[in-house]
Chain length 301, copies 2
Amino acid sequence: MKSKKVANKYRELQQQICRQLETADGGTKFKSDFWKSDLGEGITMVLTGGDAIEKAAVNFSEVSGSVSQNMRKSLKVESGDSFFATGISSIIHPENPHVPITHMNVRYFQLDSEMAWFGGGIDLTPHYVDIEEASWFHEQLEKICSEFDSRYYQRFKKWADDYFYLPHRDETRGVGGIFFDHLVMQDDNHFESLFAFTKALAEAYPKNYIELLNKNKHRIYTKAEKDWQHLRRGRYVEFNLLYDRGTKFGLDSGGRTESIFLSMPPMASWEYQNQPEKGSKEYETLQLLKKEIDWINKGER
Amino acid sequence: MKSKKVANKYRELQQQICRQLETADGGTKFKSDFWKSDLGEGITMVLTGGDAIEKAAVNFSEVSGSVSQNMRKSLKVESGDSFFATGISSIIHPENPHVPITHMNVRYFQLDSEMAWFGGGIDLTPHYVDIEEASWFHEQLEKICSEFDSRYYQRFKKWADDYFYLPHRDETRGVGGIFFDHLVMQDDNHFESLFAFTKALAEAYPKNYIELLNKNKHRIYTKAEKDWQHLRRGRYVEFNLLYDRGTKFGLDSGGRTESIFLSMPPMASWEYQNQPEKGSKEYETLQLLKKEIDWINKGER
């Protein structure tokens, strides 16, 4: 059965991600919370107060049930009475403001009508944008994408730009990455290819992040830089509560609140009219939180 | 003109509230930010880093324009091409977790079709619910209400219970207070009475809050209590971004982002599965964040 095969692999990948992050952090362990609900079960892994990681969450779930009216509307599907869904979602909030926040999600959704699709993505939200690093991060994603379909990177990079955007701030959430949804499988070969693509992303996620973590986790930072990190996390909260479809879908469908809010930062702040001085690092970062930046070539300039 | 009369009085009340809060805080002054937009103007007053007050915001605005489709839908009105709106909204986040958060809003809305109404309310969000204090707070509101209409308190108390509610947490935002909207004026006498009601609320707001502030601002608190305050502020953020109609209306109608987000706390936090120990003060508080508590009589028991 395809559904079990995907769920089992995702379950294994969750553990693999956690082990790699623990090693990189330096000792602090994830706490594991197994939960069951009316719809299914899941394992929530949370690491807090690590040396390098302030909070990391890796959530796995495997749920099924009947398709509600709300869900039908939200998914834009007409047929299918029952569904199966499994996925991993993860977020990492680092201690050091010079290390970026990152987020990853891979998911599989199947209807009894045989229709099935994959969705997911990886994106990066630096508190301070470093062009070289953002470029390198996009290159890694481009490499993975190109192993599966030469059009993936361009298409999914744009999708991330459009999705991770806060209209009321006219800011992107970070430097983006890739985002995709409703990649409907055409046949068994196509299923295998999409499945392998999501596996490759989940495997690359800790590996690439750990590069950025190791590079920056020992950098000295000031109180002003930590304050700025808290403000940027405030924007992250705004995005997640106002625009994130996963949050909305979760709350609308009566999902498990504690899992839905896993992505929330350990500490965030807001300040009236915070306007960084022209030319400051904070100011430069704001100039780079824009859609349609060709990160790969920007880094090579 | 009614609109100018209301706006001028609200403008005056804003200053009065700020002066009283400054005196109570002990020295820190509000910073005043006058702004103009396509729709009108306003004055945003913010006090941060005071001795007793971590952040207080008092916003006044006076705007007018043509009624958009979005606005028509949101306000459920059929006639009227242009509108006028003025109001004060305020929030206070105290330094000491034993002092509650409070919020107040009064507003007047008028259409060229001559239809006009008032809305507003005052509510209290303690980090630690003190039954006597919550009861006293509701008594003060009941007294003001009863000077205008004997049915107001019961009606508006229920409205606040229903409005300041987080369904995904099955928690009220705090111990409530009063909330009302669309109190449509029937004639000139009715206008004067509703106007006087909102004035009385705006006047009582700093007075009553300062009682609670003075009573508790010197209480000793622990780091654990401050951590709890940050978590409770996280819930406040959830309410404001997920459910608050003012936030939604403001963002949908392209309002001034910095003013819409004034109510956000200076610092908030989230923690996975924070479950206070049975019998702890934190646990007792959660038991009291429920609708339909008859606060006035609960305090007298």
